[in-house]
């Protein structure tokens, strides 16, 4: 871990939908080139946390975010335009989302939004991102078939390629393995191990062992708060002081 510089600094973050608070008092930092794991049972507020980071609250009138989220030294709500902010952050969703466009257009979508038009440049980006997402060999002969018709595991890697096409500073994965087969999960985990050299990753995962395998530090969310954040090693070696964390890690609930 070369990084000790934080690229995301969250202070006293709270999130509510209407009058229902679903996350409160979260303070944490995400350091350059680390994989930060986030574990916790369904409904803990993990997805909402990710959505606050890339300002998805702008698309949901009932979602209220308070506190500060400094991304690259600036509060995300102070970014002059939220679209530029989102282009720095790649997102992978729990259910694979192949857009109903060709494989090529899926990956070229974000570069085109960013104004890239030259075919050669787009070709290069599409190939590079598909290669890094370990999908190139399977789709290189059918770049013009629909992305939404690929298998689930392929669509999830397509989503990763799409996220990479943004050249993101931060990659956020939300329970990416929930709907894909174990082989694909392992392949994606290998991809993430490569990517950590170049970017910072937040890995929300439903698999406790996945956090153990990949994360440098792990945060445990429960019932709308962050119980603790520590090095993955210490958390899994039973050094945690919190009985809830131990129970969750050992599979006693969740």
């Amino acid at each position: 871990m070369n990084g000790s510089e934080s690229i995301l600094d969250v202070r006293d973050l709270s999130i509510a939908y209407g009058s229902k608070t679903v996350l409160s008092g979260v303070t944490l930092d995400v350091r350059e080139n680390e994989i930060l794991g986030i574990i916790g049972p369904a409904g803990a507020g993990k997805t909402s946390f990710l959505q606050a980071i890339n300002r998805m609250d702008a698309f949901n009138a009932s979602m209220k975010v308070t506190g500060t989220l400094n991304f690259l030294g600036r509060d995300v709500r102070a970014w002059r335009n939220a679209y530029a902010l989102r282009r720095q952050i790649g997102v992978v969703f729990p259910l694979p989302v192949g857009l109903p466009l060709t494989v090529y257009d899926n990956v070229a979508f974000a570069p085109r939004l960013a104004g890239k038009r030259s075919r050669a440049e787009l070709d290069e980006i599409v190939e590079r991102c598909l290669r890094r997402a370990a999908l190139w060999d399977e789709v290189k002969d059918r770049l013009d078939s629909l992305g939404s018709l690929l298998s689930g595991g392929q669509q999830q890697r397509l989503t990763i390629a799409r996220a990479l096409s943004q050249d993101p500073v931060l990659l956020m994965l939300d329970e990416f393995s929930i709907a894909v087969d174990p082989v694909t999960t392992m392949r994606i985990e290998d991809v993430l191990k490569e990517l950590r050299q170049e970017m910072t990753i937040i890995l929300v995962t439903n698999l406790v062992q996945q956090a153990r395998r990949l994360a440098d530090r792990t945060a445990f969310f429960l019932d709308g708060r962050m119980v603790e954040l520590g090095s993955t090693e210490s958390l899994f070696n039973g050094e945690t002081l919190f009985p809830e964390t131990r129970d969750y890690i050992e599979g006693r609930f969740g």
Binding site: F59, Y83, I89, V91, F93, F109, A110, Q166
Partner: protein
């Protein structure tokens, strides 16, 4: 073993009986339609000659053709489409893609659904008040087609909104997360994947206005006009009103004339439907998700 087989046989028999009952009810429904269509084709078919379609009425509408009415209906429906479709699609895009989920949006949606159920005579009176009198268009093609457009608007909005909502929300979120604006998302992903549904629904709904009589008879359609309309401020004849006129208001019309006019109306509506279905087949190709 025998018992089981017996029971299976009984089940089969019951199944067959139910199937036949439902089949019978369906045929009962289709029968009147077939009879009407058959009657129209048999009695109206021979009437639909080129002269009938493309000549003016003669001798107090008891002879000659129906060209002014034929043309009038085409003009009214086309202009109704031109006025209602862009506005309706824009409104549906706003309601489906932009409007926040609050009481105002919900009341607008409710109002639109209710508007779709308002009887056409009420639209007619609105058309008279708004277009003929208030805007001063007089009884004219413009006023009549605007009235038809107002009448078609709610159904255009509902059909469009349903097609937009059929595009999974996850696609929008994926685009937004990549930094796309709402409009970029709509243009690149939502519309291309709903346009076939939108156009089909819209043409289907609007084609039904071809047969409407009440909304146009007070706003722009005339009993008899001896010349073709020159501007949109002229009155016009229309098939639906002409059918009413020659069946009930004019003595001495050949018995088969109304059947010919009715058949022509049905042909217009059906061919627009066929057009929209063909269009959808052409656009859809394959399922995309």
């Amino acid at each position: 073993m025998f018992a089981a087989t017996d029971r299976n046989r009984t089940n089969d028999r019951i199944q067959r009986r139910y199937r036949n009952v439902f089949l019978g009810m369906t045929l009962l429904l289709v029968l009147p339609v077939l009879i009407i269509l058959g009657l129209l084709v048999v009695r109206g078919g021979p009437v639909l000659t080129a002269e009938f379609l493309f000549e003016f009425p003669k001798s107090g509408m008891t002879a000659g053709g129906i060209f002014p009415a034929f043309l009038g209906t085409i003009i009214l429906v086309t202009m109704g489409l031109v006025f209602s479709v862009p506005l309706g699609i824009a409104a549906a895009i706003y309601l489906s893609e932009y409007a926040p989920d609050n009481w105002l949006t919900r009341s607008i949606n409710l109002a639109i659904i209710n508007l779709a159920g308002v009887p056409s005579i009420v639209h007619a009176l609105f058309g008279v008040g708004a277009f003929v009198i208030f805007f001063g268009f007089g009884t004219s093609i413009l006023a009549a087609s605007l009235t038809l457009a107002i009448m078609a608007l709610p159904v255009v909005i509902v059909a469009t909104r349903e097609s937009l909502q059929a595009v999974p929300h996850a696609f929008r979120e994926a685009c937004w997360a990549m930094g796309a604006t709402r409009w970029q998302t709509i243009r690149r992903v939502v519309l291309p994947n709903s346009v076939s549904g939108i156009l089909t629904g819209v043409i289907l709904e609007v084609s039904r206005t071809a047969g409407e009589t009440a909304p146009i008879m007070f706003t722009g359609a005339a009993f008899f006009v001896p010349f073709l309309p020159q501007t949109i401020f002229d009155k016009t004849m229309a098939l639906s009103l002409h059918l009413f006129v020659i069946s009930t208001q004019v003595p001495g019309v050949p018995e088969d004339f109304p059947y010919g006019v009715a058949l022509l109306l049905i042909i217009i509506v059906l061919s627009m439907n066929a057009l929209s279905i063909g269009f959808r087949t052409w656009l859809r190709g394959r399922k995309k998700w």
